[in-house]
């Protein structure tokens, strides 16, 4: 995979502290392990001229950022009341079985990390999950297998 240069990403953002989340989003997207490295944090701190602890403090608050390497694809299952009513609990059990991991863990082949998310706002097709940027709804066992297979084949 051809990864964008980190300095190029930084140079697109003004050196203003309120840009912090936007910069972190862009840097994380550029990493194949869906996580931010210590070097990334140092780059941001230098770019914004703030202490490293300041960057660390902010990013650890938000669920979309990770310091722990994650799989190439992050699967986020919604268990808000609406999806729950639609059977998201069973979906989650089935996913854990199919992937052989628990929530928060990464598969051995490094392909998938399983997470929970709050409501994704597409409740009309509950239960719903998000794989990277893709929403997948009306989940059944069959559909789960189909989606996993598609990502395993690299689309």
């Amino acid at each position: 995979m051809n990864l964008p240069n980190k300095q190029d990403i930084l140079s697109q953002h003004p050196r203003s502290e309120d840009r912090l989340l936007a910069i972190l989003h862009d840097l994380q997207k550029a990493n194949s392990d869906n996580a931010l490295s210590r070097e990334d944090l140092q780059l941001v701190a230098a770019h914004l001229n703030v202490p490293l602890s300041r960057v660390h403090d902010a990013l650890t608050f938000y669920s979309m950022f990770s310091l722990r390497p994650r799989g190439r694809h992050v699967i986020r299952v919604c268990d808000s009341p609406h999806c729950h009513l639609g059977g998201s609990w069973s979906v989650l059990e089935e996913l854990q079985r199919l992937l052989g991991v628990k929530v928060g863990e990464t598969t051995e082949d490094g392909l998938f990390t399983l997470e929970l998310t709050s409501c994704l706002g597409v409740c009309g097709v509950a239960p719903v999950m998000m794989v990277d940027e893709e929403m997948v709804g009306n989940l059944t066992t069959e559909r789960l297998q189909e989606v996993l297979a598609r990502y395993r084949e690299g689309r």
């Binding site: 989340l21 808000s80 409501c119 009309g124 097709v125 929403m135």
Partner: protein, 538 residues
């Protein structure tokens, strides 16, 4: 401009995208060309058509016939049968032919102010918004009205914040206008995270220019020069659409240094969040905008005097701002005729769960909940009996069938008025177990509690554990009292509305559906749990 014999409106929102709408649009254009109809039938890509749970939905005008669950395979058939031969494809019409009410009739029962353009115009094209009367209110304000007059008009209209607190919008703007400190900011709260709530997303996707116009009007009224739209990081399409609208508006001179040649300067930016429900709370949102942890601030001081970077800030919800151009264009007198005397205007809802027509609707303030569930939602399918309605998402109220006649406005709802803001209406039939549903709500709060204050951090955890005990039949007789006592403590002692709002779902579930909780504690059979609600296999 060419005149078209018929129009095909196709709803492009997140739900349609995950059903493959891009493919279908391509197929539609190819089929129309092959049938030689490309010149007489116009395809309009628009926002949601207000129908949820039916994948790709399209509507053919002038007949107003809705098709749902449309796939690429079936498109040539619709083109051939309906558009070429003039015979609607009955088998694909929404809802099934046996239904008493069709979506077009549901549409007619609504009062569309905020959603006037949603599902009608192409949200990616500023000219269509202008053709529908867009930016007229801005022209009128900048040309003929002083900022104080805009504030007065909004005050007179009786508009109240649609985010939940119901604070009078005009008064908020006046406070910002009078507050000392420069520059002043306008911030739109598009961090919509309340479970079951996505009306703001659909407004952003369906009519983004209305929000831009509302922001500029607010800025002019308050004397602000810079604006931000803080939007959920997960809302990819909304971010794209609102960014597109801002860029177009800037090209047209509707944002920037000298808007419409009036000398007034204002510009705005989109800022994505990063997955934190608490950032929907206004002070937490401001912290996050400043690039920090989204920890709520102590209030007072309120954002009207001490907001973004400590400057006076007008912070409004998407739906609130989307009302503003309509009020300025139509006048406060017109707007006041909608809704009730104390609570004017309309409210946007998402109706979901066990109803025949899930989707997005807009009705006047004061509409009874019963009308939303049965007239607009079409009631429950297959003659199922209603068990409960969760109004307002996780921070909402569980309503019993006996209480359905409650009117939906800030005055009538009183102590659970906060639930009105989200507009989420989740309808549950007899298969829903309230112990299980409350468990889902409480786990949500435990997950989203930001951990800054102890009552919320420790309280949400205790609540989940106690409820889990009840579910497993190990609760003991005092468990229900303890749930309520902890939630009540959180209401008075928590720093922000997240912890304060947990009491509402707990209290309404325990009072309205006590038998079910007692059945779990005593180990007798819960009628809902014994049915099972496993996800379909195979």
């Amino acid at each position: 401009m060419k005149l078209a014999r018929a129009h095909v409106l196709i709803g492009v929102d997140d739900e349609a995208r995950l059903a493959g709408v891009e493919d279908i649009i391509r197929t539609l254009h190819t089929s129309l060309e092959q049938a030689g109809l490309a010149d007489e039938i116009q395809v309009v890509e628009t926002g949601t058509l207000g129908v949820s749970g039916h994948g790709v939905v399209l509507v053919v005008y002038p007949e107003g016939i809705y098709y749902g669950d449309v796939t690429a395979d079936i498109v040539p058939h619709i083109v051939e049968e309906h558009l070429f031969k003039g015979r609607p494809v009955e088998s694909l019409r929404l809802p099934s032919a046996t239904a008493a009410v069709r979506p077009s009739e549901v549409y007619r029962r609504q009062t569309r102010v905020v959603l006037r353009n949603c599902g009608v115009i192409d949200p990616g094209n500023i000219d269509e918004y202008i053709a529908a009367g867009g930016y007229e209110a801005l022209g009128k304000s900048l040309g003929d009205m002083r900022p104080e007059e805009v504030v007065a008009e909004i005050k007179e209209s009786g508009l109240r914040g649609r985010g939940g607190a119901g604070f009078p919008t005009g008064l908020k703007w006046e406070l910002v206008r009078r507050a000392a400190g420069e520059p002043k900011y306008v911030v739109c709260n598009a961090d919509e995270g309340e479970p079951g709530t996505f009306k703001d997303r659909l407004i952003l996707e369906g009519d983004p220019h209305k929000l831009v116009e509302g922001m500029v009007l607010c800025a002019y009224a308050c004397g602000a020069s810079q604006g931000f739209v803080y939007i959920r990081g997960e809302y990819g399409l909304s971010i794209e659409r609102i960014q597109g609208a801002i860029d177009q508006a800037r090209d047209y001179g509707l944002l920037g240094r000298d808007i419409m040649g009036s000398g007034f300067a204002f510009d705005m930016e989109v800022r994505p969040g990063a997955g934190a429900y608490v950032c929907g709370e206004e002070t937490s949102l401001l912290e996050s905008l400043e690039g920090k942890r989204g920890w709520p601030r102590m209030r007072p001081p309120y954002p009207v005097t001490f907001g973004l970077w400590g400057k006076p800030t007008a912070l409004n919800n998407v739906e609130t701002l989307a009302n503003v151009p309509e009020i300025v264009a139509g006048g406060a007198e017109w707007y006041k005729q909608l809704g009730t005397a104390a609570c004017t205007g309309t409210k946007v809802y998402t109706i979901l769960g066990h109803v025949r027509f899930p989707g997005l609707v807009e009705v006047e303030m004061g509409t009874p909940l019963r009308a939303l569930v049965y007239d607009l939602g079409g009631g429950l399918p297959d003659g199922q009996a209603l068990k409960a309605v969760l109004v307002g998402g996780a921070a909402g109220a569980f309503v019993t069938p006996q209480a359905l006649d409650v009117r939906m406005d800030y005055e009538s709802l009183r102590n659970w008025a906060a639930a009105l803001g989200s507009g989420a209406i989740l309808v549950m039939d007899e298969s829903a177990c309230l112990v299980d549903m409350l468990g889902s709500v409480l786990r949500f709060f435990r997950h989203e509690s930001c951990g800054q204050c102890v009552p919320c951090r420790a309280g949400t955890d205790r609540l989940v554990n106690i409820l889990e005990g009840i579910r497993r039949g190990q609760g003991g007789a005092s468990a229900l009292e303890e749930l309520e006592r902890i939630a009540a403590t959180m209401q008075v002692a928590s720093l922000c509305p997240l912890g304060q709002s947990v009491l509402l779902p707990v209290h309404t579930a325990l009072t309205g559906f006590r038998d079910e909780f007692v059945a779990h504690i005593e180990g007798t059979n819960c009628p809902a749990c014994s049915r099972g609600r496993e996800v379909a296999t195979g």
